[in-house]
């Protein structure tokens, strides 16, 4: 008898929750909080709790290009990256990024693109991830595909970034640098999907899609 009552209450609460969730839905896409084209975003590695970061410090080995690391603090503007379309295929400002879509991830302060290639990373001997290019223009190895379930990249969802040129996943496994970037973690590419390559969008400036069309075709 008790179990039945508990079960009934359980079902009631669940259906109440569903009704509440449903009633909260509004027509506008922006309420559902997607990451959109042109947005600035900080990306948090959920396993190691560090944000994707870059700065004007070059690797001392490998390619010698600008280094990309993971940092613990949340208030550094050098952790902002802009989500942009592929070279020669710009995405429409404010359009939600689809799961599977190919994008470039451009470092806001230095204008260099998240990039990886067949060089070894300095601490763990995985694939080196660097920041490459000038003013947002680099080469084809700047392109990454967003891997997620569902249709669009949701802001509070953990996603993976798979490199289109080398099939590597953007990852952190915890190795730490010493001076002059003491405490920052190594960011590298790994060949298989695992718990180390989940990323979530955190702070940022998220551009909403256009509301009304600009054209007035009536005469």
């Amino acid at each position: 008898m008790k179990m039945e009552i508990i079960h009934a209450v359980h079902v009631l609460v669940k259906s109440l929750l569903i009704v509440l969730l449903w009633s909260d839905c509004e027509g506008r896409e922006s309420e559902l909080d997607y990451v959109t084209c042109g947005s600035l975003v900080k990306l948090l590695n959920t396993r190691h709790n560090v944000r994707l970061h870059s700065h004007d410090v070059k690797y001392g080995s490998g390619s010698g290009q600008q280094s990309v690391t993971g940092v613990e603090n949340a208030d550094d503007a050098n952790s902002y990256w802009q989500i942009r379309g592929k070279p020669n295929l710009p995405c429409q400002r404010g359009a939600a990024i689809k799961c599977g879509q190919a994008i470039r991830i451009t470092h806001m302060k230095t204008g260099r693109n998240l990039h990886t290639h067949h060089f070894s990373s300095p601490l763990s001997n995985n694939q080196e991830v660097s920041a490459f290019g000038e003013n947002g223009e680099g080469d084809d190895l700047d392109v990454w595909a967003v891997q997620c379930d569902g249709t669009y990249w949701e802001r509070d969802e953990a996603v993976r970034f798979k490199h289109v040129g080398t099939d590597a996943f953007l990852s952190v496994t915890g190795e730490q640098y010493g001076h002059p970037i003491r405490g920052q973690r190594e960011v590298h590419g790994m060949s298989s999907p695992n718990q180390h390559n989940w990323w979530r969008s955190m702070e940022g400036v998220f551009i909403q899609p256009n509301m009304e069309p600009l054209h007035h075709d009536e005469l």
């Binding site: 922006s30 909080d33 042109g38 600035l40 949340a74 208030d75 550094d76 503007a77 050098n78 902002y80 802009q82 710009p90 400002r93 404010g94 806001m108 955190m202 702070e203 940022g204 400036v205 998220f206 551009i207 909403q208 256009n210 509301m211 009304e212 600009l214 054209h215 007035h216 075709d217 005469l219």
Partner: protein, 360 residues
């Protein structure tokens, strides 16, 4: 008789009360200076322009400045919300069911940013000793259509905000030299890290919506700052968020200042006998072109007033300059057609040889 008189009196009083109540409600459309059929974009644009003019900090001599500014905020709050606007249109201000929610400060800061508005003064000159968080610069791509007609871009800003936390923390840490006495006449100087004690602070993420205006005629690299919307600084003020305009290339129109350039290819027949056509402009309206004379390749037509609005005065517009090029027939002509053409055109053989690259 007395009862009837009383009723009449009551009715009159009620009528008077109703009419004054209706008249006492503010005319929000008039406050914003927009028509009753204004689009949401027109309303945002009007608010932003007036908010800058009417801000009390800017009108310190006007005793009514606070009231005017409050009216403006109320007008925007109602007219920018579909539901509230419907209610207002039907029942007037008193017909609005709920009280005002967000303060006017919220509305103002979604257009201009947070941190105390400095009119015309350079923020950095205020106090160099207060440390400031990083600035954020976002390259905002805009289309030529948006430059022509203007637009508002809504942006959601999720940022870390410093909040009070229990306990204390170390702040203003610095190295200082300490002199210790080891014995009579013997001293030792050592370096020591000295910190002050400050209230503890933690960073909490907060979210708000910002409205960025793409003003008509805006130029490449122009910036729209939002004060205080940048990165926080634990010991000081937050930095700013700046939107830097990047005007995208357009497949039909090229911008040079306030003028627009475009090209049209016509057939050889049209070039010789004339033609009539429409060009669809950036907002969809048609520019009509009529030509009844011969049009040479490279010929240009100027359409005054069909360019972009000037950023400083949108009533002034540039021109649309159309350059024509001619496409010759693809198929070769047979002898009969060649004779026909010689006869029709009555243009003798010219064959002038000259240096075309040096202006001869």
């Amino acid at each position: 008789m007395a009862a009837k008189g009383m009723n009449l009196c009551n009715v009159c009083c009620l009528l008077l009360y109703i009419t004054t109540a209706v008249l006492a409600g503010r005319d929000f459309y008039k406050i914003l200076g927009v028509s009753k059929s204004a689009s949401i974009r027109d309303i945002k644009k009007a608010y932003r322009k007036l908010a800058l003019q009417l801000h009390p900090d800017r009108n310190q001599d006007d005793p009514k400045a606070q009231d005017k500014f409050a009216d403006l905020g109320a007008a925007y709050e109602v007219l920018s919300d579909e539901e509230k606007r419907k209610q207002y249109d039907a029942y007037g201000e008193d017909g609005l069911k709920e009280g005002h929610h967000g303060s006017h400060n919220d509305i103002f800061s979604s257009f201009f940013g947070d941190f105390g508005f400095m009119f015309g003064g350079n923020r950095q000159q205020q106090d160099r000793n207060i440390p400031r968080g990083n600035d954020i610069i976002l390259d905002l791509e805009v289309t030529l259509e948006e430059v022509y007609s203007g637009n508002f871009v809504e942006v959601v800003r999720n940022k870390p905000v410093a909040k009070e936390a229990p306990g204390k923390r170390k702040c203003n840490c610095r190295q200082e030299m300490r002199t210790t006495q080891l014995g009579p006449g013997r001293f030792q100087m050592t370096q020591e890290m000295v910190c002050d004690e400050c209230p503890n602070v933690k960073l909490v993420n907060e979210e708000r919506t910002l409205e960025v205006e793409i003003e008509q005629g805006v130029r490449d690299e122009m910036e729209y700052p939002f004060i205080g919307e940048g990165e926080p600084h634990i010991d000081g003020e937050p930095g700013d968020l700046r939107f830097r305009i990047k005007v995208l290339k357009h497949p039909v129109f090229e911008r040079r200042g306030d003028d627009l350039y475009t090209n049209v290819t016509i057939s050889l027949v049209e070039a010789l006998v004339g033609f009539e056509m429409d060009i669809a402009h950036l907002d969809g309206h048609k520019v009509h072109i009529v030509r009844d004379k011969i049009t040479k390749p490279g010929a240009r037509m100027w359409k005054k007033g069909e360019g972009l609005p000037n950023f400083d005065n949108i009533n002034i517009r540039g021109s649309l300059i159309i350059t024509f090029d001619v496409e010759f027939p693809q198929t070769q002509l047979d002898e009969q057609q060649k004779d026909g053409i010689r006869g029709l055109l009555k243009q003798g053989s010219i064959q002038k040889v000259y240096n075309g690259l040096q202006g001869y």
